[in-house]
């Protein structure tokens, strides 16, 4: 089977508008989650990771004169454009383009701008901006969308549909989703604390990210790249919102991804978990990791830095995992204090250096869906 690489990427998030800025903030253990007082999102103040409007507007104005794009479209187009600017040899009109999002321009529903709330309208906006021959393909699979999109990109490249795929993911911190998670009693009154004893729920965030997945390596000035060597999704077949008590789907997706990568649990050097900080989700992940023989592998969740960025999260977190894999460095699982799950997983308490070759990225979401990706560092 053809090798597939994550060649390059870009991030637009509360922790920065470039990958470097994001990595530096992570290294400093800076969180993007702050107390937000914005009654257009929620009556009372709440903790969340919002992108600074002024910074976004300024960045957008530097890119385009067209003001009619929505906030999310601007975020996603900026992420894509930064990726393209860094890689002038990449011709987007010859690439497959995948969009991962859960709710797209859902903020437009409130404005009675219903047409704009359709996800294919978001795809059209991106198509028109880049004058693409075909409309991008949209994947909307709850909180695993971003990771699943990488898996699908890999499959499409291996099946010969494309040589290069750009995956762009994004979601907003909107009143729509926040109110829903409040009704689920799932929003943390303080910045979220994944895997901790005193965790009480999620913090929401927003971000866009883009990545270039390719069947070949074109950068000749680098010595190491990250290959996607295994991936799988699986359904719990148990409950549409409650995480499985046995971690079934996550366990299955990890097994299948490891099988495809032809590695065993002990070959994994680090796990970038989903870790939303709801009591049941984190417990489920600890069960699945334990069942998979991954208890002793260092693990963190980046939700303490970004909050839960929904359809962007697994893409954003895979990009960070890729850079940490290349740098042989991982950051602490921000918000973690005392272990609060049933199985003794090795949550990373302090930034540290780890010699890494294989990294496991996982995500789980509503609908009982789970995805696992195995990344491998290879020398070229």
């Amino acid at each position: 089977m053809k090798s597939v690489y994550i060649v390059d990427d870009s991030i637009i998030s509360p922790l920065g508008f470039s990958v470097e800025e994001n990595l530096q903030n992570l290294k400093n253990n800076t969180t993007g989650i702050v107390e937000v007082k914005d009654t257009s999102i929620h009556t009372d103040s709440f903790y969340g990771g919002l992108i600074d409007e002024k910074r976004l507007t300024d960045a957008w104005d530097a890119l385009s004169e067209i003001a009619s794009y929505t906030k999310l479209e601007k975020m996603m187009l900026l992420a894509m454009q930064r990726l393209l600017d860094k890689n002038p040899q990449l011709d987007i009109t010859r690439c497959g383009v995948l969009i991962s999002t859960t709710k797209g321009n859902i903020d437009q529903l409130k404005e009675n701008n219903t047409d704009r709330a359709y996800l294919d309208t978001l795809a059209s906006a991106i198509q028109q901006f880049y004058k693409l021959g075909n409309s991008p393909t949209i994947i909307s699979n709850a909180c695993i969308s971003g990771g699943l999109a990488i898996a699908i990109a890999k499959r499409m490249i291996q099946a010969g549909h494309y040589e290069d795929v750009i995956v762009v993911g994004g979601d907003l911190l909107s009143e729509f989703t926040l109110s829903g998670f409040f009704s689920f009693q799932a929003v943390s009154p303080k910045p979220c604390k994944p895997f901790s004893k005193n965790r009480t729920g999620i913090s929401l965030g927003e971000a866009a990210a883009a990545t270039w997945i390719s069947g070949s390596i074109k950068n000749t000035n680098i010595s190491e790249v990250v290959e996607v060597v295994g991936e799988a999704s699986a359904n719990d077949a148990n409950h549409i919102s409650g995480p499985s008590r046995t971690g079934e789907g996550l366990y299955l997706s990890i097994q299948r991804a490891l099988d495809e990568a032809k590695v065993s649990a002990s070959d994994i050097d680090y796990i970038s978990a989903h870790g939303t900080a709801t009591p049941f989700n984190d417990e489920m992940e600890s069960i699945a990791f334990s069942r998979s023989g991954l208890e002793d592998i260092p693990v963190n969740s980046l939700k303490g830095y970004y909050g839960h960025t929904l359809g962007a999260s697994a893409l954003l977190e895979t990009i960070i995992a890729k850079h940490h894999l290349l740098a042989n460095e991982v950051v602490c699982s921000l918000g973690f204090d005392e272990l609060g799950v049933s199985y003794p997983i090795d949550v990373i308490k302090k930034n540290k250096a780890i010699a890494m070759q294989h990294v496991l990225k996982t995500a789980s979401g509503f609908g009982g869906c789970n995805v696992a990706l195995v990344l491998k560092k290879v020398s070229i």
């Binding site: 009704s183 689920f184 409950h239 549409i240 919102s241 409650g242």
Partner: protein, 85 residues
């Protein structure tokens, strides 16, 4: 109290979409969760909304729901003592 219990049964059937169940199928002392009506975690969250919306009762801790939603009888007694509307 009997009126409130009947009202609760009707509301629960309506709100939780228990279409195959009649008011007469629910005994005041039947457990609502587990083997009883077979309600699940989303139903429990929905009942928390029902308490607030219809009776003005806002739970401080959603975990309190577990004891309150034991049966129609227990739920009605709790509402009787705590309702603000």
């Amino acid at each position: 109290m009997a009126d409130l219990q009947l009202e609760l049964k009707e509301k629960i059937i309506e709100q939780l979409s228990l279409e195959d169940i009649e008011v007469s199928d629910i005994d005041d002392n039947d457990p609502l969760f587990g083997d009883g009506l077979g309600l699940d975690s989303i139903d429990a969250l929905e009942l928390i909304v029902l308490l607030e919306k219809d009776y003005g009762i806002k739970l401080k801790d959603p975990k309190e729901g577990k004891a309150i939603f034991e049966s129609i009888g227990v739920m009605a007694a709790y509402i009787e003592n705590n309702r603000t509307k």
